[in-house]
Amino acid sequence: MHVAAVFLPLIAAFIAGFFGRWIGDRGAQLVTCLALVAAAVLGAIVFWSVAIVGHARTIDLLTWIDAGDLRVRWALRYDTLSAVMVAAVTLVSAMVHIYSVGYMAHDKSVPRFMSYLSLFTFFMLMLVTADNFVQLFFGWEGVGLMSYLLIGFWYDRPSANAAAIKAFIVNRIGDFGFALGIFAVYLIFGSLQFDTVFAAAPDVAHNTIPFLGHQVDAITVTCILLFIGAMGKSAQLGLHTWLPDAMEGPTPVSALIHAATMVTAGVFMLARLSPLFEYSPTALAVVVVIGGSTAMFAATIGMAQNDIKRVIAYSTCSQLGYMFFAAGVSAYGAAIFHLVTHAFFKALLFLAAGSVIHAMSGEQDMRKMGGLRTLIPATYLLMWVGSLALAGIWPFAGYYSKDVIIEAAWASGTGVGHYAYWLGVFAAFLTAFYSWRLIFLTFHGKPRASKEVMAHVHESPPVMILPLLVLAAGALFAGMAGYHWFVGEGRDAFWGDSILVLPGHDNLAGAETVPFWAAKLPLAMGLGGIFVAWIAYVVETGIPALTARWLRPVYLLFLNKWYFDELYDAIIVRPAMWLGIRLWKDGDGAVIDGLGPDGFAKVTRGMAAVLSRFQTGYLYHYVFAMFVGAVVLVSWYVLRQAG
């Protein structure tokens, strides 16, 4: 059962991918959807038996790498943390599979699409059930590959290809850090098994290792290197540039991979490696600063975007920032709690946005929408549910998970904790603002699309609405239902050994005693954001344009995403290409070959000519003769062949 939950999607992907031509579109949809629904059911059962009943176990599959002292095996580790992830991933993935049946109905490569989705799910499950660093890395790079393939799914579009490559390479930059982190773990612990490493972590807490010419704190440098990997996958500040571009992929992909599951892998990694991170206050502080900054930074960009999917993408980036600083203040339970609720409501938002795009015949620019409220009421309602959950309004899921994060940041009492608190509170305001900006621009006001498009507007078929209802139920109730177990009274019993929080770091306990104003400020900010959006986009619609004119530099900064793409292009991409060409033409061509073989040949010939004229130096004579001989031999061959 534990094994089937992981491998069913692989088998389905294989069948749909290689036999798609024989079983047809319908067959591929049927196989993958059935496999995923079965996996989701198994995932729920496993969740029950592992997390609730408490039967944690590790299933050994096969030897993988066995060299020197290194022993790595393929294995499935089921503890509460991975059971939560398996249940959430299989459920959301099953919903997205079903939704895709409707959304991709008119595409010409349905089997390929379904196969990719299932294969992605397999890699994600391998990632969350890893019991060693290398399998974690396997899943990690595997989901990166599927993300690349799915962003570039419509491979005839240049923009999709560019986005796909960008996603893979930015992730690889993160993985570069991740890989070095793994090497460091092996250097310190002599093993890459989680159990061995975690057990030994307290003993090496203050050891140092040599790294790039310095003696540095072993665990700190390891954690920061690993964290670079998490930053790449979870699109944190600096390595975030790929995520908005990833919206080139079909919308179900955005929902599953670039919102609900893959991008949260970094958060999962922090929780999984809590027994390491807990021993490095420095690394945790770095996590808090990056997370808090990203939450704020991405929210500012989200305010100014016009593409409906990009707004939600930046919102994802920002919410991941929240999860990171939660982990940074040792509130891992809260981070995973928000991860799960976010998976529901963000998948819901994306799929609802997909439903809008579907209705608008592929239009994604909100400036060309408006007035859809009465035409697609079900989607409108679902969008409200998702947005209320995102903005953290009671009693929706986000209220429970986001507030506890912000409270924990306050309760940590550290400087970086307070930095994250204030950025988190302000970002909550922006979150609510851009979410309702999206709703008002899309559904309210007068239609701004052409008559033709508006005539085609239609509600999505049941196969697309049904999964949305399931996700909406999650967005409504997941917060209430999970609070007790994930972050409330029952958290210690629930998480068991799967997460380590050192005594003195338990900021979730502290979160219960923060002052009333500090606890309720995020909610107030959320309501304020909705109110301001209402004023600006419904009551007095001239305000946005006016503000953009007054604060033109700021508006341009947000609209152009703080110019990160331009910056990277100027300092990395173009110099690399330039260097490549110069090394090739000058390095290889002029210097090495010029001084090496070509120059040598020239000199030999020149000397031979000179020396033979003077009738001296028999040795050179011979060299020359041999050279001529060889030329004659080859010429003979060539001529024979030509003739």
């Binding site: 096969l62 993988w64 790498i65 066995d66 060299a67 020197g68 002292d69 290194l70 393929w74 290398v134 890395f137 396997f138 790079e141 595997g142 590959l145 690349y148 570039g152 491979y155 005839d156 579009r157 240049p158 290809n161 796909a164 490559i165 893979f168 390479i169 690889r172 930059i173 993985d175 570069f176 890989a179 070095l180 793994i182 090497f183 460091a184 250097l187 040599p210 790294f211 790039l212 010419g213 690399a576 290409m577 490549g580 060409i581 090394l583 090739w584 390095g587 290889d588 090495i592 070959d593 090496g596 073989p597 040598f600 040949a601 060889a630 080859v634 010429s635 061959y637 060539v638 062949q641």
Partner: protein, 503 residues
């Protein structure tokens, strides 16, 4: 079965095929067809025999196995001595695995002088297998040099338009190195009084001699690997060579350098190896970054893959000189993996070259549309080349880097950037060939893989995944020999250190 001289059989059986082909007479077309079939069956039988070698190989032993010995020039202490250990076993298999693939891949691509072509390949196979089995320096050198001749002809006769320049560059570079290694072999012979390799491996060379001999061998092996800056022959040779020539060049001949370092340089000259390690690291790191950047700038498919080979071999040389079990085994796997993956990538180039007769990347684009099978195969090899976990490329790179990190974090740091750069140039290549819209009418007319081509790629994909998911089959037989080698190196390095302390 074990009493059969399996290694000699593997080595010289191809020559029987050569004899059979030489006997062919008659109409040009019939001769060509028969030559192809004879070459194919010969190479398949040889592959089967080499599998028997693997089956009879005891993976728990570290010494030479399946040993055959005979007198050759007893007065000079030169003998016919063959044997394999964990280090050479898989190189033999790699050679015998790739030869039938080359024959099938050239089935229709080579139309002229088919008879001579097949003869060249079978002779090449004998030489390759011989190199890895020979346990006598003179025998080794004969094979080691002999391999150049068929390769020189394959490039020079069946190559592209600048084949003569490329063939000479190839010959000049490798010969320059080889002459020095011949001097070194002669020196070893005079010092030890024997040409027997196992005896020489156990001999303790005086330190000053080690330095010179190490350098002489290095000159030869560095060209073969090839290491920066003596790599420039490789792109030219690959570009001009016919597809199957590139396959053998990238698949097996590049491994001779790495094999030489592990087989000779480390155990015979441990102190010199330790002394020169920073030098090797520097060259390797430069190779990885430099050639990766150069690969980014290429607009010729074969050149791009050739440069990527140089970068990948950089990981090998780093792994070898870490002298850690992880690093050395990683280097071994990396060599085997690269042998299959780069060979497959050159075959991928060959597939489209056969259809459109150009290697210019810009002439393609959009092949996913009409060649989905090809796109899938190419994708697998591209991913193996960028070292995605689950493929063979990952295991080798990962192990050699984990070894490097234990020894020197700077090296690991810079070499690991190759992970990013390789993704950049390979994905960029793949995009320009496979993705986007089809813009050329002749590209749209290209047909997908034929059954013959599927037959070429299927076993290679299987090996790439096998080595990626369950590399234990390969790591296990390698392990004892590597452990033995490390033991040997460490003992003599320690002895040298104490000798220095006592002085």
């Amino acid at each position: 079965m074990t009493h059969w001289p399996l290694l000699s059989l593997t080595t010289f059986l191809p020559l029987a095929g050569v004899a059979a082909i030489l006997l062919l007479r008659g109409d040009e077309k019939d001769v060509a067809r028969n030559a192809r079939w004879i070459a194919l069956w010969t190479s398949l039988v040889v592959f089967a025999v080499s599998l028997a070698v693997w089956a009879n190989f005891d993976p728990t032993r570290s010494d030479f196995q399946l040993v055959e010995q005979a007198d050759w020039l007893p007065d000079f202490n030169i003998g016919y001595h063959m044997g394999v250990d964990g280090i050479s076993l898989f190189f033999v298999l790699l050679s015998t695995f790739l030869t039938p693939i080359c024959v099938v891949a050239s089935w229709t691509a080579i139309e002229r002088r088919v008879k001579e072509y097949m003869i060249a390949f079978l002779v090449l196979e004998t030489m390759m297998v011989g190199i890895f089995c020979a346990l006598d320096f003179i025998l080794f050198y004969v094979f080691f040099e002999g391999v150049l001749v068929p390769m020189f002809l394959i490039i020079g006769v069946w190559g592209g338009s600048r084949r003569v320049y490329a063939a000479f560059k190839f010959f000049l570079f490798t010969l320059l190195g080889s002459v020095l290694s011949l001097l070194a072999i002669l020196a070893i012979y005079f010092v030890t009084g024997t040409a027997d390799i196992p005896e020489a491996l156990a001999f303790n060379f005086p330190p000053h001699l080690q330095t010179w001999l190490w350098l002489a061998f290095f000159a030869s092996f560095a060209v073969k690997v090839p290491m920066w800056p003596v790599h420039t022959w490789l792109p030219d040779a690959h570009v001009e060579a016919p597809t199957a020539g590139s396959v053998i060049l990238a698949g097996v001949l590049l491994k001779l350098g790495g094999y030489g370092f592990i087989r000779f340089s480390l155990p015979m000259f441990p102190e010199a190896s330790a002394y020169f390690t920073p030098f090797v690291y520097t060259l390797s790191v430069v190779a990885i970054i430099y050639t990766s950047l150069v690969a980014l700038a290429q607009d010729d498919m074969k050149k791009l893959i050739a440069y990527s080979s140089v970068a990948h071999m950089g990981f090998v040389t780093i792994g070898i000189f870490t002298v850690t079990p992880e690093g050395l085994q990683g280097a071994m796997i990396q060599m085997l993996s690269h042998g299959v993956v780069s060979a497959a990538l050159f075959l991928c180039v060959g597939v489209v070259y056969d259809r459109l007769h150009t290697r210019e990347i810009a002439r393609y684009g959009g092949l996913a549309e009409n060649m989905p099978k090809y796109a899938t195969a190419f994708m697998v090899f591209m991913l193996a080349s960028v070292g995605l976990p689950g493929t063979s490329g990952f295991v080798g790179e990962f192990l050699s880097m984990i070894g490097a990190f234990q020894v020197n974090t700077w090296v690991a740091f810079f070499a690991t950037t190759g992970m990013i750069l390789s993704a950049a140039y390979m994905l960029w290549l793949y995009r320009r060939i496979i993705f986007e819209k089809i813009t050329h009418a002749d590209v749209r007319a290209m047909i997908d893989l034929t059954p013959r081509e599927v037959l070429v790629f299927a076993p290679m994909i299987a090996v790439v995944l096998w080595m990626g998911v369950y590399p234990a089959s390969f790591l296990k037989p390698i392990q004892p020999s590597i452990a033995n080698l490390i033991e040997r190196v460490q003992v003599s390095q320690r002895a040298a250190a104490t000798a220095l302390a006592q002085r």
